[in-house]
């Protein structure tokens, strides 16, 4: 029985919608990237607690990010973004130095070239980049004259003038409308009483529908057992009244765990505070119940567009169109039936 908004749109009580008649309040994460120091304690704490295996010892060259992305063996992932633009409320002394152009585009290109050549790890639908052993194609280093060569000023208009380094700890979003869960044919994925989404590996048959069902590319099949794995929001710890391991380990409270309603209020206050302090880039991502997944259980305060962090700008749960598709299919079926019946009726004539 499908209630209104069970598949798309705002939904006040996800746990009840999943059949939990009495349940605790919905919980989640508010990850405030404005205080993230990129220590990766969340990644380590997550793996320690959940016994997640290592994900390979590959130097990726994406700044300090060597985990690459979320996957079967990485349930927390810290993104590092180097940009040659300023951060609100921050001053760097770079503008007055004898610099040439930014190296960031070259770094990005080298990494992108390697990713294009990288084998796919995990399942064929997974997205683990591996080390490329042959050197990447020559992309050409920036051809600028050496700084200091061009007159007393030392740097021309092309010199880099600013810098910022963004860090963000990514995690499963525990969507209000979870694509992975809705497409799972075995019931391995389920909605917990806390409103979170968890995989049961002993039921998972490794079909991989969930991998394509997730609009964020979070869930992945493990190359070790072929089954789907992702963040459980430490379901076992929640049962014992503990906060998830990553939030517990976070030294600066960048990862905050709590009741979702309270976290949303806190996040809105935080954005206002940052705007007051001149950090005008601050914006929330995933807290809006009207978005394509009905709002996420784990949402973020970002300092740039989501794409910059490797997040989809406008994620939509694949089941959004399911009712319409079923309706269309129903109409089509009815039309066929009518036509068929009509043909019989017609032949009688």
């Amino acid at each position: 029985m499908i209630r209104e908004n069970s598949l798309y749109g705002p939904l006040d009580d996800v746990a009840a919608d999943a059949g939990h008649l009495e349940h605790p309040p919905r919980v989640g994460f508010f990850t405030d990237t404005s205080v993230c120091i990129g220590c990766k304690a969340c990644e380590v704490a997550c793996k320690e607690w959940n016994l997640v295996p290592d994900d390979g010892f590959d130097l990726l060259g994406m700044s300090y990010d060597n985990s690459g992305m979320l996957g079967a063996n990485t349930w927390r992932h810290v993104a590092f973004v180097e940009q040659d633009i300023p951060l609100g409320g921050q001053r760097t002394g770079i503008a007055e130095l004898p610099t040439g152009p930014s190296g960031t585009p070259v770094m990005t290109e080298v990494v992108a070239a390697r990713l294009r050549h990288a084998e796919r790890g995990g399942s064929e639908l997974g997205t683990n980049p591996l080390e490329v052993h042959e050197p990447p194609q020559d992309l050409g280093m920036p051809s600028f004259s050496r700084p200091g060569d061009d007159g007393a000023d030392g740097h021309g208009a092309e010199g880099r003038t600013d810098f910022r380094w963004l860090m963000e700890s990514d995690v499963c979003k525990h969507c209000t409308h979870a694509g992975c869960l809705d497409v799972c044919p075995t019931g391995a994925l389920f909605r917990t009483e806390f409103g979170t989404v968890v995989v049961q590996q002993d039921i998972c048959n490794g079909c991989g529908y969930c991998v394509s069902g997730c609009p964020y590319g979070v869930i992945d099949r493990s190359p070790l057992d072929g089954r789907a794995h992702k963040c459980t929001l430490c379901y076992d710890r929640l049962h014992d009244g503990l906060e998830p391991a990553c939030a517990k380990a976070c030294p600066t409270d960048s990862i905050q765990f709590g009741e979702l309603d309270e976290l949303r209020e806190r996040a809105n206050r935080r954005v206002a505070t940052l705007h007051d302090r001149g950090v005008t880039e601050a914006r929330l991502y995933g807290e809006d119940p009207d978005d394509g997944v009905g709002g996420t259980g784990a949402f973020f305060l970002l300092l740039d567009e989501p794409e910059v962090y490797g997040l989809p700008p406008d994620p939509v749960v694949p089941t959004r169109d399911a009712p319409a598709m079923w309706r269309a299919a129903g109409i089509a079926a009815a039309a066929f039936l009518t036509a068929a019946v009509g043909s019989f009726l017609g032949s009688r004539r």
């Binding site: 205080v35 120091i37 990129g38 220590c39 990766k40 304690a41 990644e43 380590v44 320690e48 295996p53 290592d54 994900d55 390979g56 010892f57 590959d58 130097l59 060259g61 700044s63 300090y64 060597n66 985990s67 180097e82 040659d84 409320g89 921050q90 001053r91 760097t92 002394g93 770079i94 007055e96 130095l97 004898p98 610099t99 040439g100 152009p101 930014s102 190296g103 960031t104 070259v106 770094m107 080298v110 990494v111 390697r114 050197p135 990447p136 280093m141 920036p142 050496r146 700084p147 200091g148 030392g154 880099r160 810098f163 910022r164 380094w165 963004l166 860090m167 030294p251 600066t252 409270d253």
Partner: protein
């Protein structure tokens, strides 16, 4: 957390101290301005309000510039400076400043590269003799400034009144000397030396001044980025001068926060592992200067001086009673003669060179991996390969235990495993979760931890190892009549133990009680160091830790959550001394004993109760009123006035000028690093004129101006840590969850340098010095930028130092690039800055590597004398005599 402005300099706090950094974030949320001054944009910079670049090794020029800014604009907190510092004291007429002698102070002796410090003294009665009985040069050879530890050096004739000029106008008063000394450290000069744009530098000055005074306080934070230099101690001195001038010492939100290198390294200096110290910063006796106990104590406190160091006799006698128990009696000087004596430089680097020279036979390594983690890794390994025996205790099989088969020297043929003579004994160690004990963290806080699980198999605690080592040695020597065995046989080796006979675990709790100390007449633990006596009626293993078991309670085990007590959380753990959280906190009140402001109140005089009170434990005699003046001539604590907040100092004052105690000068002075591509822009003298060099062929230096061929090594490099790894990697390269986060040794370069040298992102490159070449993967990043220094462009290179030849992720040893040159004050190595070349591609392998590096040395014209002319104009080469085997 209470700071209004935090300047992080010489520290990558967010990466190396991420847990402590939460308080910087907290202060920032409360409105504090956060600055990060660093050669490289790091994860700390990413969270700062303002990142300020500077050239590595130029910090004194920067800090001196701040001092000049404060003095030139008279921005000092005069009401604090006058009563609490030595600003008004007059210095002797003979004193000459670096301004007069082109980079040298008066008293320099070129032959020994050391100073006669007598002309730096206050203008007061009596001649000034070297510390102890030895010549001044020996102070340098024993790193004496290190021995002044938790207080200051001995100073005679300062208990009474010292000639002074409270108007601060006298040309020989400290304030005016300071002003002259730093007058050329202008923003323009800072820009020229540090490469820091003027506006950026001035922003730091302005913020510091705006956030200091009655209502506000500013803090400095540093780590080994400040200490690991030939002038490291003077970096911290420079910050001390700023903080004293601005009135930021002893006050909430002020101070200079030293972040230690790793867990409990503070503890290992308090109960020391250093060759020249006994527990609690008591001087290790010297053969020449400390023949007996009476002489020893007289060298720590002068005849007429103030302060608690004058009770050193009580601290030392109690220590001897703890060591030798009943055998220590007044008749035998409490076994004072059982203490070892030092005769010169026995520091870790001297010891390693002596190993190479065949003078050392055995070596204990406990929680240390010098094959990877110490400067000049090559010499560390070659030294260890020339021992009879080596004992390594560690959690994993580290490179210092396996070097004989996997060192880079095996590849070059310098170490042949079959012929390596060293016998290595590896003992697996218990981890901190597997044993009871304390950690002493960076704020001097002892925190007790209970054992969580039993160690498995042969893994044993450090306590177990030493207890049984001592027990077995004593069993072997039992019945010996040899006089030299007495110290071992007379030891009070009677710790409480539990567990199976023969495999007993000593009680860490009992050891802590013994460290705290006992009243031997009653058998009860003492409540603090003021209970200690010099008559042998008390024992105490470390006087500054006395009080950790006050009232018979393990104070370090207190874990009352901060939410259940006030903001200073005095019931969490225990901080030495006497659980004081902020040292010298008498200075948080004005001379009359009132808080400087309501906002910055910490401790104050309560006239009704007649005692000091407040949020912290007062770091002052509790009932001595603020207007107290001693009635007549006296010494020690009795001589301290009511407005002498610096109770460990000989004159009770904060030292803007050090009348003695530092072997390289009374004031910080900008010297270029031992290896630098540029000439000193301020003085003829290039580097620190007292720096400790070991001029020998196996410890070559790259040339620095005015020496020729500087361009062979045109770049500056520095090294530090990554959050993801732990020091020499023994505790991180062996763990998959950490190894995967930073899987490879990298070298970070700016896009400009990458273009100049043809380096590609993620490609290979190798860094070359006169010691060796090290290869790494290239990271081209905007986080590094070239600087303009003295009209030329200086490129800086950065590498992490965690990699070695074993573990899950492996790489070359960064420390092989470094030579050994030390800060003469404390014998720390200059490992934060050196010069190098960088080339694309991997380094040569095998013996070809040796030829390759030799080619560089040849082109640079390097001999043992390169870098060994420590005084630029004196012409004396400090070369070691060739040692014949």
């Amino acid at each position: 957390m209470h700071s209004d402005c935090i300047v992080i300099m010489g520290s990558n706090m967010a990466e190396a101290h991420p847990v402590g950094f939460q308080w910087v974030i907290e202060a920032k949320e409360r409105g504090a301005k956060v600055f990060h001054v660093d050669p490289r944009f790091t994860r700390t910079s990413a969270l700062a309000h303002h990142y300020v670049p500077l050239r590595v090794g130029s910090d004194i020029a920067f800090l001196g510039g701040v001092i000049n800014y404060i003095l030139a604009g008279e921005h000092d907190f005069r009401e604090y400076v006058l009563p609490y510092t030595n600003a008004s004291f007059l210095i002797r007429e003979e004193f000459r400043d670096t301004e007069d002698l082109d980079g040298l102070f008066s008293g320099y002796d070129p032959a020994t590269a050391s100073y006669d410090q007598s002309s730096w003294h206050y203008e007061s009665s009596g001649p000034v003799l070297p510390a102890n009985l030895r010549p001044w040069a020996e102070e340098k050879e024993q790193a004496s400034p290190d021995q002044h530890g938790s207080g200051g050096p001995k100073l005679d004739g300062v208990a009474g009144s010292i000639p002074s000029d409270p108007t601060l106008q006298h040309p020989r008063c400290v304030y005016q000397i300071l002003k002259r000394h730093f007058s050329r450290y202008t923003p323009e000069m800072v820009e020229q030396i540090c490469g820091t744009p003027r506006e950026q530098f001035l922003a730091v000055c302005e913020a510091l001044v705006e956030n200091s005074g009655r209502e506000r306080t500013a803090a400095f934070v540093y780590s080994v980025g400040w200490t690991q230099h030939t002038v490291g101690a003077q970096y911290i001195r420079a910050a001390s001068i700023i903080q004293l001038l601005l009135g930021n010492i002893g006050r909430p939100g002020g101070g200079i926060l030293a972040l230690r290198g790793h867990a409990s390294i503070q503890g290992s200096t308090d109960v020391p592992t250093l060759f020249n110290l006994l527990p609690g910063y008591l001087v290790m006796p010297s053969a020449a200067s400390h023949p007996d106990l009476a002489t020893y104590t007289s060298t720590i406190c002068g005849k007429e001086q103030k302060g608690f160091w004058c009770h050193a006799d009580a601290y030392l006698v109690s220590l001897l009673k703890e060591y030798w128990g009943d055998a220590a009696t007044p008749e035998n000087d409490f076994c004072y003669d059982y203490l070892p004596r030092i005769t010169g430089d026995h520091g870790t680097y001297r010891t390693v060179l002596d190993m190479v020279d065949g003078k050392v036979f055995g070596y204990f390594l406990l929680g240390q991996n010098p094959a990877v983690g110490s400067a000049h890794g090559r010499i560390q390994r070659l030294g260890m390969a020339n021992l009879d025996w080596l004992v390594v205790r560690d959690l994993t099989m580290i490179e210092s235990a396996s070097f004989w088969k996997d060192a880079p020297e095996v590849e070059t043929g310098e170490i042949v495993p079959e012929r390596c003579r060293t016998e290595v004994f590896f003992f697996p160690a218990a981890a901190h979760t597997e044993k009871d004990g304390t950690f002493t963290q960076t704020q001097r806080m002892l925190q007790w931890r209970d054992k969580a699980v039993d160690p498995i198999a042969d893994q044993r605690s450090e306590l177990w190892f030493f207890y049984h080592l001592g027990r077995r040695l004593r069993e072997r020597l039992a019945g010996s009549t040899d006089e030299r065995d007495r110290p071992l046989l007379d030891l009070a080796w009677d710790y409480e133990v539990h567990g199976d006979p023969g495999d007993e675990e000593p009680s860490a709790d009992h050891v802590l009680r013994r460290i705290n100390g006992y009243d031997l007449t009653t058998g009860r633990v003492v409540d603090g160091y003021t209970d200690l006596k010099a008559d042998g009626s008390t024992s105490c293993g470390c006087w500054i830790y006395s009080g950790v078991y006050a009232g018979g309670v393990n104070q370090a085990r207190r874990r009352k959550p901060r939410f259940e007590q006030d903001i200073y959380a005095l019931e969490w753990g225990w901080t030495w001394p006497m659980n004081r959280r902020i040292l010298y906190n008498r200075a948080s009140a004005d001379p009359a004993g009132r808080p400087w402001s309501e906002r910055k109140a910490l401790v104050w005089w309560d006239p009704e109760r007649g005692r000091w009170t407040g949020y912290d434990v007062p770091d002052f005699e509790p009932t001595k009123p603020p207007d107290y003046v001693p009635p007549g001539p006296t010494k020690g604590p009795d001589a301290l006035h009511g407005d002498d907040p610096f109770i460990m100092q000989a004159d009770g004052k904060g030292w803007l000028f050090s009348p003695r105690g530092l072997v390289d000068g009374p004031l910080p002075t900008h010297y270029e690093p031992h290896e630098s591509p540029v000439r000193n822009a301020l003085y003829v003298q290039q580097g620190d004129p007292t720096r400790k060099v070991y001029g020998r062929p196996d410890n070559p230096s790259n040339p620095s101006p005015p020496e020729p061929n500087v361009d062979v090594f045109p770049y500056v490099f520095t090294a530090s840590r990554l959050t993801e790894h732990h020091t020499a990697g023994g505790m991180s390269r062996t763990l998959p969850y950490l190894s995967e986060l930073q899987p490879a040794l990298t070298v970070e370069v700016s896009p400009e340098l990458a273009a100049e040298r043809g380096l590609e992102h993620l490609g290979w490159a190798h860094v070359i010095t006169s010691r060796t070449a090290v290869e790494a993967r290239v990271m081209v990043t905007d986080r590094l930028a070239p600087l303009r220094v003295g009209g030329r462009l200086v490129h800086q290179i950065w590498m992490p130092y965690h990699w070695g030849p074993t573990g899950l992720v492996r790489g070359d040893v960064f420390n092989d690039l470094l030579g050994i040159t030390l800060d003469a004050n404390v014998f720390i190595q200059e490992s934060k800055v050196a010069t190098c070349d960088i080339r694309p591609g991997p380094r040569p392998r095998g013996p070809a590597l040796l030829d390759y590096v030799a080619g560089y040395r040849e082109r640079a014209g390097i001999t043992a004398a390169t870098g060994a002319v420590v005084c630029t104009t004196c012409g004396v080469k400090h070369i070691e005599q060739e040692v014949r085997r």
